[in-house]
């Protein structure tokens, strides 16, 4: 089902975006209902979409030989999933599996890239928004790197 600007406006990731931009993104978005245990994407697959999660949960994981799948991150309501479509080689770096029944807005990544090229203002704005998310994830990941709950050295 095509996403409406109403649905987009209420998602935390797009909060603050102007109406006109919301309308244009709405034309390349659909609301999807994802069943649990569905693979959204696999490592190495072409990356051409992103999802604005409205409810539910998706896990990013990676397959380690001899160990199986290891969960790297959980993303729930309000999160944006997927940015490998932003830069070459446009391939997914992890697997994504739906853990709970999830409602999300799926945005066509290729068309979104095209939109940004023809409208630099929108491109800049979206770039800023994605960067903010990236920074937050990076800081959280660095925190986990510290292994603060591990035994003292």
């Amino acid at each position: 089902m095509r996403a409406t600007t109403e649905r987009l406006r209420t998602h935390p990731f797009l909060a603050g975006l102007d109406e006109e931009s919301l309308e244009r993104i709405a034309t390349i978005s659909t609301v999807v209902a994802l069943d649990a245990k569905t693979w959204l994407f696999r490592e190495g697959d072409p990356a051409d979409r992103c999802w604005l999660i409205r409810s539910g949960r998706v896990n990013l994981d990676v397959h380690l030989p001899g160990r199986g799948e290891v969960i790297v991150e959980s993303l729930g309501a309000g999160a944006v999933l997927g940015w490998s479509w932003l830069f070459p080689p446009y391939r997914w770096h992890f697997d994504a599996v739906v853990v709970e029944p999830t409602s999300a807005i799926e945005v066509d990544g290729i068309q979104l890239r095209a939109l940004c090229q023809t409208d630099p203002k929108l491109g800049y704005r979206l770039g800023q928004m994605f960067t903010a998310v990236l920074i937050e994830r990076l800081q959280a990941t660095r925190l986990r790197l510290l292994d603060l709950y591990g035994p003292p050295r």
Binding site: R57, N59, V70, I71, V72, A140, Y149
Partner: protein, 270 residues
């Protein structure tokens, strides 16, 4: 305020994780005064030494429950004691979690790693007085699912009206809960920032960042409490080791209001 330990009998020992145990203790002689949530004891392993360990619960009349992690000579010795052994206990020491929280509060506990141990008695309080509070939430962060403390109690806590949310730093597939830092769960426990009463316990960095995240979401600094630690030798304010700036953490802590703690935690090597 004595330096002489009272004798306590180990009546139960539960291995929580590979390096953490929970001991249930009963007094051999006269029981010590009641330990309030947030306070700590100095636990003595005969001939090895003493360490400060927060209270994790009470057992019957006068019994104590302590969860401790084996990280040094004393804690390794304590973690190895079996039921029937006698250890030494001094206490209670320190400032407790300030309870009860104001009526109608959204009480949020955020626990990182072994930090859940000093918060466990607060959970018991929340269950006993659930109707006083609008919400009661505990966010638990751990390294991996194998490192979780008290996992068998989570459902009991939920049945008591406490929302329990768990996240780990990493997990194998099949882990049904969240993976990520504990601050990513904060939005689940704050519906009304002005009514939040927050109690944080865990590594210092985790408490600092969690407090900041709470404040960013509109929670007043004065509504946040943290549990701090420093080297302790006596527990009675005489040895000077546990200083953090003007605070003697055995006497002015370990529970400290965030407005007081924040500037002290911001100074390197204080």
């Amino acid at each position: 305020m004595t330096m002489t330990p009272a004798r306590y009998l180990v009546v139960d020992r539960l291995a929580e994780t590979a390096d953490t145990v929970t001991l249930t203790l009963e007094p051999v002689d006269r029981p010590l005064p009641v330990f309030r949530p947030g306070q700590f004891a100095m636990l003595y392993a005969f001939g090895v030494g003493e360490v400060p360990i927060s209270i994790s619960g009470r057992s019957g009349a006068g019994g104590l429950i302590h969860t401790l992690r084996a990280v040094g000579a004393v804690t390794r010795a304590l973690a190895a004691v079996q039921p029937g052994a006698i250890i030494g206990v001094r206490g209670p020491f320190g400032t407790p979690w300030d309870l009860p929280a104001p009526p109608g509060s959204e009480v949020a506990l955020v626990a990182g790693g072994i930090g859940l141990a000093p918060l466990r008695p607060v959970i018991h309080h929340l269950i006993a007085h659930r109707r006083r509070y609008r919400r009661a939430v505990v966010l638990i962060g751990a390294r991996t699912p194998d490192d979780l403390l008290y996992p068998d109690e989570f459902d009991t806590w939920r049945a008591g009206g406490v929302d329990v949310h768990v996240t780990v730093d990493r997990a194998d597939a099949g882990w049904p809960d969240h993976v990520g830092v504990v601050t990513t769960l904060l939005d689940r426990c704050i519906t009304n920032p002005g009514q939040v009463a927050a109690y944080l316990c865990g590594p210092e960095v985790m408490m600092r960042l969690t407090a900041r995240a709470l404040i960013d979401r509109g929670v007043a600094a004065a509504a946040i409490r943290v549990s701090l630690e420093r080297n302790m030798r006596c527990g009675i304010g005489h040895c000077g080791h546990c200083q953090l700036g003007p605070l003697l953490l055995c006497r002015d802590g370990p529970v400290v209001g965030y407005p007081v703690a924040a500037p002290l935690l911001a100074v390197r090597e204080l």
